[in-house]
Each structure stands twice: as structure tokens, then as C-alpha cells.
């Protein structure tokens, strides 16, 4: 392998590895240390307004997590059903699942949020957080569906043939042979969708759901400390996603030992 063809490793660290670098200066580490130190130093150095902002937003963080976890759980269920529907041999189920994916992918999330929130409000009386969760999971369910479909498709057809020849029916093949293997391919993109969803929950602040961003905006609108508030809001989001992305990359690492064998 010539020098030019050196494999560029995309991981936590610098994209181009260096033998002198022991992995201490990875992009992830620098970002994490920078974020944490800013989150500590700023409030200590200038308690007004930084410490005040930090005291103002915690219930927003809780709401953001609530919306994220509820939405991802629902989206996983919708996604699995959609993914199975998309590869279904039944013409009508397949059509319904494909139609759902087409429609959802064609409408911006912000528009969907507005639509579901206000349209739902006219039909049934649901609290704001529930409406936000329904809207988020409805949208992400379609993306998840594609992730599931790709994961299932990635399993060699020989597996299905072998399973059928052993006397499993189609449902058993899917449940005991295909899905357990597909899970490995599915999990990493699901992790990414999870982080993307967490960031996108900031959109629900327009529905007057009191998430991190809404709390920050409330603080800024009263104190006029726009710069300071949004600095802290950005840092809080960054800290959460950095920790989550590490967890997900660890999980991917653990799953990849099958491939190395």
C-alpha cells in the first residue's frame, strides 16, 4: 500500500492517525473537555448571568429527555413495523408502508410539528408534550423504517434459504434468524437517529413545550442576555450529544467483534 492509499480512519480522533499520538488528543476528548470547562468556568467567573442561566434551565433538560426517550421508543416500534411492511410480499401492506415513508419524508419536520399539533388539537384534546411526542415519532418512524429495511436487506438471502430449508416458516425466519443478525447493522444508525432526534426536539420549543431551548429563550427575553444564554444552551446540548455519541460508538465497537472473527 502506497503512502497515498493510507486508510483514513474515521473515528473519535484525528482523521489521519499519527504514530506519535497515543490517542490522548482525540476530537471527542478536546470537545468534551472544552465544553465541560466552559460550563464550569463561565458560571464561576461571571455568576450573573451564567450561573443564573444554569439554574433556570434544568427542568427544560428534563423535558428534552422526556420528549426524546418517548419519541425514540415510539419511533422504534413504528420503524420496525414500517420496515417489515416495506419488505412485505403483501401488496397492500407494502403500499401502505411505502406511502407513509414517502409522505413523511416529503414534509419538513417543523411543518409536521405545526400540523400535527394544531390539527390534533382540533380533533382530540391531548397535552402539549403528548402532541409533540406523537409528531416527533410519526416523523422519525419513517426514517427508522428505512433503517430497519436496510438492515434486514443487508442479511444474505442464503440465511433465509437455509432457515426455510430447516423447516422454519417465514415469520420464524424473520424473528429467530434475520432480525437478530440485522440488529447489528441496525443499531449504529439507530444510535445516530437518537442523537439527531434529541437535537431536533429543540424544534418543539415553538409549540410552547418548555424544553431546554424554550427555557433559554424565556431567560433571554427577560434579561436581554442573548449572547450569554445561547452560549450556555449550545454548550448544554453539546455536552449531552457528546456523551451520547461516545456511548453509541462504544456500543458499535462491542458489536463489531463479530466482524473481526
Amino acid at each position: 500500500m502506497s503512502e497515498q492509499e493510507k486508510i483514513i480512519d474515521i473515528g473519535d480522533g484525528a482523521a489521519i492517525p499519527d504514530p506519535r499520538d497515543k490517542g490522548l488528543f482525540s476530537a471527542w476528548r478536546i470537545a468534551l473537555i472544552g465544553t465541560i470547562s466552559l460550563l464550569v468556568i463561565l458560571p464561576l467567573a461571571k455568576p450573573d448571568p451564567y450561573a443564573k442561566i444554569l439554574r433556570f434551565v434544568p427542568d427544560g433538560i428534563w423535558v428534552t429527555f422526556e420528549v426524546t426517550i418517548a419519541s425514540i421508543s415510539l419511533a422504534l416500534i413504528i420503524g420496525l413495523l414500517t420496515g417489515l411492511g416495506r419488505i412485505s410480499k403483501n401488496r397492500y401492506i407494502n403500499l401502505a408502508a411505502s406511502l407513509y415513508v414517502e409522505v413523511v419524508r416529503g414534509i419538513p419536520l417543523l411543518v409536521q410539528l405545526f400540523y400535527i399539533y394544531f390539527a390534533l388539537g382540533r380533533i382530540v384534546r391531548v397535552p402539549d408534550i403528548v402532541a409533540a411526542v406523537i409528531a416527533m415519532s410519526f416523523c422519525y418512524g419513517a426514517y427508522m423504517g428505512e433503517v430497519f429495511r436496510a438492515g434486514i436487506k443487508s442479511i444474505d438471502f442464503g440465511q433465509t434459504e437455509a432457515s426455510l430449508s430447516l423447516g422454519f416458516n417465514r415469520r420464524q425466519t424473520m424473528a429467530y434468524v434475520i432480525l437478530p443478525q440485522a440488529w447489528r447493522t441496525i443499531l449504529p444508525p439507530v444510535g445516530n437517529e437518537f442523537i439527531a432526534l434529541l437535537k431536533d426536539t429543540s424544534l418543539v420549543s415553538i409549540l410552547a413545550v418548555a424544553d431546554i431551548l424554550r427555557r433559554g429563550r424565556e431567560y433571554a427575553s427577560e434579561s436581554f442576555n442573548y449572547f450569554e444564554t445561547y452560549t450556555m444552551i449550545a454548550l448544554i446540548y453539546l455536552l449531552i450529544t457528546l456523551v451520547l455519541s461516545k456511548l453509541i460508538s462504544n456500543m458499535e465497537h462491542r458489536l463489531s467483534h463479530y466482524e473481526r472473527r
Binding site: D128, R217, A220, E222
Partner: protein, 244 residues
């Protein structure tokens, strides 16, 4: 030939532009606050404050230009000089005075409490533990937060809060009385009503906000406001837009 004519036109318009520039004042307005400032069916920004400023401009010699700007962040835009002034039903408060300068007051308001027609609520005290909405960063929302035992909910636009009240996600909305009247007596007159006007010891008035220290524009505005008052134009406009 056509090219030449076009070029002359462009040259002329730029000349006019620079001649204008001296007396042009760009106002940011969150045109979601009927009847003070809102966008009508023809996509024009209209309302009491808009007519008021046009009249004031005629008297004091400036041309107001309106820039529709979201309320959340309207003050930040003023601070960084995206526009010269804010005309967006901004109540003059001590906190805001620290961040910007205000013209003379041009309108006096009270905070009104809006509830569903069927509700028996008579005051904020009846709403303990209930969700009450207001527009983010407005005096109405501050009143909700200051009251005991309410669950405050902030909205980007007052119209969204009214819709949530209409469908029953929240129990009441607090906002300035002309706006409350517009929604409760006009747009949602079948569903909503004004339960009360909140009593305070302080008079609340709208002023036009300018960047701190921008005396030139402040003087122009004050001159215009004074002239409009002296001629009684503001009373005519009140009749036209608010009907009293």
C-alpha cells in the same frame, strides 16, 4: 434604448434612495399583535401603531419603513443595529429601560385575562395550579410568572396561545387589552371571553424603543408623537382601529 432607459431609472432610484436615507427610519415590528400591528389579507403591515407612525412621520419629517421581525429576538436586533427603532407595542418597563431608550408613551394598556366562554374564572387567583399562557418576553407573560401558583406557558406568538386556549390545552391567556379584545370579541367571539382586567398600581404604556443613546431618532419620534397628539390624530386612529 431600453437599456438606457433602465439605466437612467436605476441611477434615479439610487439617487432618490440616498436622498431618502436621511429621514428614513426602519422600524422592527412583530406584526402578530392585532389591532396594534398585524399583516392583513393583502400581506401589508397595518394597524394602529403603523398609522400612528405614518402620521407622526408626516408631522416630524421622516418616512417610517416597517420590517416584520419575530418578537423573540427583536430587542437583540435593535442592540446590534439591524433597524433604527422598534414599534411593536413595547411596554415601557424599568428592566427594558436599562437596555434601550424609549420615546414618549403613545398608548396606555392594561393586562387582560382571557378564558373560555364556559369558564367561571374571575381573576388570576382562581387559576391556581392551572396552565396560563402568554407571549414570551411580554408584560403579560411576566404578570403570569409573577402571580402565585400558576403554571406559566410561553408562546412565540399570541395567536398560538389563543388557539391552545381555544382547544383547551391551557386555561387562560394574559395579554394587552386591545389585543385581548381583538381575539375575544372578534376572531374567537364564539369561544372566548375576557374574564378580567388585571389591576396594577402602575400605568403601563407603549413606547417606541431605540438603541441606547440614539438621541437623533428619539427626538424625531418625540416631535412626531407630540404633533399627532396635539392634532388629535391619535383619537381618530383609536376610533378607527380599536373602536372607542
Amino acid at each position: 434604448m431600453l437599456k438606457k432607459a433602465l439605466l437612467t431609472l436605476v441611477a434615479l432610484s439610487t439617487l432618490c434612495g440616498s436622498a431618502w436615507a436621511e429621514t428614513r427610519i426602519v422600524f422592527a415590528t412583530d406584526a402578530t399583535w392585532p389591532p396594534m400591528e398585524f399583516v392583513n389579507g393583502q400581506k401589508e403591515i397595518v394597524g394602529f401603531a403603523i398609522d400612528f407612525l405614518k402620521a407622526a412621520g408626516k408631522e416630524a419629517g421622516f418616512t417610517p419603513v416597517f420590517k416584520n421581525t419575530a418578537w423573540d429576538g427583536i430587542f437583540a436586533g435593535l442592540a446590534v443595529g439591524k433597524y433604527d427603532a422598534i414599534s411593536s407595542s413595547v411596554s415601557i418597563t424599568e428592566e427594558r429601560k436599562k437596555a434601550m431608550d424609549f420615546s414618549e408613551p403613545y398608548f396606555t394598556v392594561h393586562q387582560a385575562l382571557i378564558v373560555n366562554k364556559a369558564s367561571t374564572v374571575k381573576s388570576l387567583a382562581d387559576l391556581k395550579g392551572k396552565k396560563v399562557g402568554g407571549q414570551i418576553g411580554t408584560t403579560g407573560y411576566f404578570a403570569i410568572k409573577a402571580a402565585d401558583g400558576l403554571v406559566p406557558k410561553s408562546y412565540d406568538e399570541i395567536g398560538l396561545a389563543m388557539e391552545d386556549l381555544n382547544v383547551g390545552r391551557i386555561d387562560a391567556v394574559v395579554c394587552d387589552d386591545p389585543v385581548a379584545a381583538n381575539y375575544a370579541l372578534d376572531k374567537y367571539k364564539e369561544k372566548l371571553k375576557i374574564a378580567a382586567v388585571l389591576k396594577t398600581d402602575k400605568v403601563e404604556s407603549y413606547g417606541f424603543a431605540v438603541k441606547k443613546g440614539n438621541k437623533k431618532i428619539l427626538d424625531l419620534l418625540n416631535k412626531g408623537i407630540e404633533a399627532v397628539r396635539a392634532k388629535g390624530i391619535d383619537q381618530e386612529l383609536k376610533k378607527k382601529w380599536i373602536g372607542q
